[in-house]
Every structure is written in C-alpha cells, then in structure tokens.
C-alpha cells in the first residue's frame, strides 16, 4: 500500500482548473520531487493533498484512508506537514512560538523543540525574536522546524530554495537527508531542477496542470526532463 495514492485528481481555484486528471504515488520513506515551470500546478498538488484547495479525484488516500474533502487540521493530525512557499511564519509569534505551534496537533514522535534546535543551532539564540525578524534562510529553517514539530510521516516542501542565496540553499538541502533518515517521506516542489534531482528517488514533471514525465532521476535524460519542463 502506498503512503500516498492519488488517481485522476482535478483541482480548482473557483472556475479555474489547475490540475487535470493527475495521478501520483508516494511510498513510505520515499522522496519525490515535483518540478515544473511557474503555473504548472506543483503548489496546487500540495494544496490538494493538504485539503487547502477544492479538488475532486477517484482516489486521494493517505495510508489507505481517504483524505478527500477532509479538513486540513485532520490531515495534519494523520501525519502530513507542509513547509509552505514563502515560509509563511506567523508575525506575532516568536521563533520558538512558531516552532511550538507546529506541534499543535499533539502528534507523538521523535521531534521536539530541543531536537529542532540541534538540527538548526542558529535558531536557538534567536528563539525570542519575532519569526519575521529573521533572515530568509533562518525563516526557512524555522518553517522546516515548525513542520517537524508535528512529527510527520510525510513533509511537503513548497519551493524550498525560492528567494534564498545559493549558500543558504545548500545548507537547507543538507538537512533533508537527516529528515529522510528518520523515515520521513518527502515531496519536494522545486524550480531548481538540479537541486530536486539530487535529493529525489523519483521525479514528477508537471506541465500546465498535467503530468508530463515521471521516473527515477537516473532513468531520465536531461533532454527529456528539459522537454517536459519547458513543453518543447
């Protein structure tokens, strides 16, 4: 049984359809990259999984349990966390409060405030400042730590590298293997193809809301990925 199984997913923003009959599978402990140009439907895919956008499907299940039309809060309680695009830290909460609220669902597990500080030591000394007073990289660390605090079995990363300096992106991506080693499955939405292919066991390339290409990074040539990415 797949950890996450999606069949024939359509997603909508009002009258605008963003995903068309999309199929997706994710196994336990697997890392999958979803790549594609702006507007390809990558973020919509994550939002559909977390119940944040109107969607219909034949199957949308997590560990065999349907999450179609479930409240986002219920889906988080099942073990799905998301690191949203732009970090979206809460401005009126301190760094530590931002982390603590990530554990709101009370899901038991191995991640704690102390372990997050061990993973991101830079946050420890900044724990009392508002989350939005941090640098972009520190904000991304806080957003990842916040997701870990819910002790998820699956984390959805939306545009991890967006707006960050290359040295910071490298630092952030070095953390993903640590998270993977805990047995956490990951979906990494990324426009930086090279970064995505480095960490992924499989890749899904989206184009205008449809699946254009899928496979293991080693099985796909750069030309095929580029053709699927740009639609050429």
């Amino acid at each position: 049984m797949s950890l996450l199984e999606i069949r024939n997913l359509d997603a909508f923003y009002g009258d605008f359809q963003a995903l068309f009959g999309f199929d997706f599978d994710l196994e336990e402990h697997e890392t999958v990259a979803a790549i594609g140009a702006n507007g390809a439907g990558k973020t919509t895919l994550l939002r559909a999984i977390t119940g944040m956008v109107a969607a219909t499907s034949e199957v949308l299940s997590y560990r065999g349990e349907s999450i179609q039309s479930r409240e986002a809060a219920d889906i988080v309680a099942l073990g799905v966390a998301m690191v949203p695009e732009g970090r979206r830290l809460f401005p009126s909460l301190s760094v530590e409060e931002n982390l603590v609220i990530g554990g709101y669902s009370g899901r038991p597990g191995r991640w704690s405030l102390e372990r997050v500080y061990e993973l991101f030591p830079a946050l420890r000394n900044r724990r009392s400042v508002p989350g939005t007073a941090l640098s972009g990289g520190e904000q991304q660390m806080t957003a990842i730590g916040r997701a870990l605090m819910s002790n998820p079995d699956l984390i959805l990363f939306d545009e991890l590298s967006l707006g960050l300096a290359p040295v910071v992106v490298k630092e952030i991506y070095e953390v993903l293997p640590v998270i993977k080693a805990e047995g956490t499955a990951m979906v990494v939405v990324e426009q930086d193809i090279n970064r995505a292919l480095e960490v992924a066991d499989r890749v899904y390339c989206l184009q205008e809301g449809r699946l254009a290409l899928t496979g293991a990074p080693g099985d796909l040539t750069r030309d095929r990925i580029s053709a699927a990415y740009f639609g050429t």
Partner: protein
C-alpha cells in the same frame, strides 16, 4: 480643582466598564476579522439572562455569574459554529449584515418577551456604597470593583494570549488563517472558542451594566458604539490598549459632563474623533511585518 480631579477619577472607573464592553469586540475582530454589530445587544441579552436567573433562583447578581457565564460561553460557541462561521470569507460584508440581523432579532425578541420597560439588577447596598479616597473624591464601591475586575480580566487575557496553547492558536489564526490550518488548527473550532470567550466578557459586562444602570432592549447599539470607540482608540494592538481606550473614553465623557451635563457623550465622541485624526491606527496599534 478637586472637582475636576474627581471627574477624571470617576471617568477612569467608568472606563473599566467600557473596557469590558470593548475587550470581547476586540477579541472577535482580532481573531477572525469579524465586526460584530450585535455585540451591544449581546451585552443587553446577557443582562436579561442574568435577570431571569436572579428572578427564578433568588440569587445575588454576582452569584448569577455562575450560571450566566457558562450559558453565554455555550451560546457564543453555538452562534459561531452554527451561523457566523458560514458568513466568513474574503468579503467583510456578509458577517456585517448577518450580525446586524442578529442585532435586530435580539432586540425584538427581548422587546417581545420583556417589553420596553427599563429593568435593573438589584445588588443591595453595594450599589450606593463608596469609599473616600481624599476629601472631595469618593470612589463608588461598585465602579471600583468593575474597574479592578476589568484590569484583572485584561491581564488574564493578555497572559492567556501570550502563554497558552489556545492563545497561540488565536494569534496564529489572526496572523494567517490559511497557514494556521496547516499547523493542525481547526479554524472553525478556534473561531467558536473566540466567540465563546468574547461572550463570557459580554456576560460580565452585561451583569455589571445591569447593576449600575437601568437597561432595556434598545440599549445595545449605544453600548456597541462605546465598545467600538474604546477599541479603535486603543488601536487593536493589545488588550491593554483596549483598557486605555475605555479609560480615555470614560474620562472624556466625565469631563464633558462636568462642563455641561448635555456634553457627556458628545465629549466622548469628540475625543474619539480627535484620536482618530491624530493616530488613525489608535494609540497602541499592532505592528505587523506582512
């Protein structure tokens, strides 16, 4: 001179009651951006619920809180989950219209059941007793109790917002409702709890207003106005700002009444307008980076 000082002191005490009116309104607007037009009528409703409780059980108005506060908590939660949650969205107009409708319904129901007669909650000698601060300045026991309770409640709310799990959920939802859902926060439940907490404050305010003054089904809109003014003067930034807003409004009204009894409410409105012109975001606005 001492008479002017007395007016200010009495205004500060009145401000405690206004802060109680305003605190519930501030919570609701802060957490879910809902402008509750029925807020004043809910205060009056609470006073009538207390009146019925007192008449049927024979208890003191203060003791009636034991029944009225949980009732209003439950009523607030059901009102939010059953009606108001369905009006919330990107458009501010639907909740505005629905709470306006609720305001009309409450007023007319109260009118139908209790008539337009003025009512009063009788609390005994405490209504008229006072303590002398200095010669020429006497503090009414009841206004003093109301002020102390208002300060204590606002302190408790401030602590609750900053240090509890529910308080963090309120603040996160206020900051970014969409991302708060991704934290596992059930927005509908949180909104229900926010309204429930608001109506507990409303119940306390309603009982105190019932002891301090006469009330009738038509009193709600003016209480709403005072609550709005206190919240906006305070600046929607903190609960202490709401207390400051209530105190400024109370002091302005008392100074106005000292100049001319007919100027009491006008002076409060003028103070509100002056602060709105000088500090459009109020005295203690919340600073946000987004």
């Amino acid at each position: 001179m001492i008479e002017w000082v007395n007016s200010i002191v009495q205004g500060v005490l009145t401000g405690g009651l206004y802060a109680l009116f305003a605190a519930g309104l501030a919570i609701i607007f802060g957490v879910m951006r809902l402008v509750n037009i029925a807020h004043g009528d809910l205060i009056v409703l609470a006073a009538f619920v207390a009146m019925v409780t007192i008449e049927t059980t024979g208890v003191d108005p203060f003791v009636s809180m034991v029944a009225v506060l949980p009732f209003m908590f439950f009523f607030g939660y059901v009102l939010q989950r059953g009606i108001l949650n369905y009006t919330l969205g990107d458009d501010l107009l639907p909740p505005l219209l629905v709470t306006f409708g609720i305001s009309i319904v409450i007023q007319n129901l109260l009118l139908e059941i209790f008539s337009a007669d003025s009512q009063r909650l009788k609390a005994g000698p405490i209504e008229v007793s006072s303590v002398e601060l200095v010669e020429g300045i006497e503090l009414g026991t009841l206004p003093l109790i109301v002020f102390v309770i208002a300060v204590a409640l606002i302190f408790a709310l401030q602590i609750g917002f900053s240090r509890t799990r529910l308080g963090r959920a309120f603040r996160a939802t206020s900051d970014d409702p969409s991302t708060a859902r991704l934290m596992g926060i059930n927005q509908k439940h949180i909104f229900g709890l926010a309204m429930a907490v608001s109506l507990v404050l409303v119940a306390i305010a309603g009982i105190f207003i019932g002891i301090r003054t006469n009330f009738d089904p038509a009193l709600g809109p003016t209480r709403l106005l005072f609550a709005f003014e206190a919240v906006i003067i305070g600046g929607l930034g903190s609960m202490w700002g709401t207390l400051a807003g209530g105190v400024i409004l109370g002091v302005a009204q008392n100074i106005g009444a000292k100049i001319d009894p007919g100027w009491q409410f006008l002076a409060g409105h003028i103070a509100f307008l002056v602060i709105l012109v000088l500090r459009p975001n109020g005295l203690f606005p919340r600073t946000r980076d987004d």
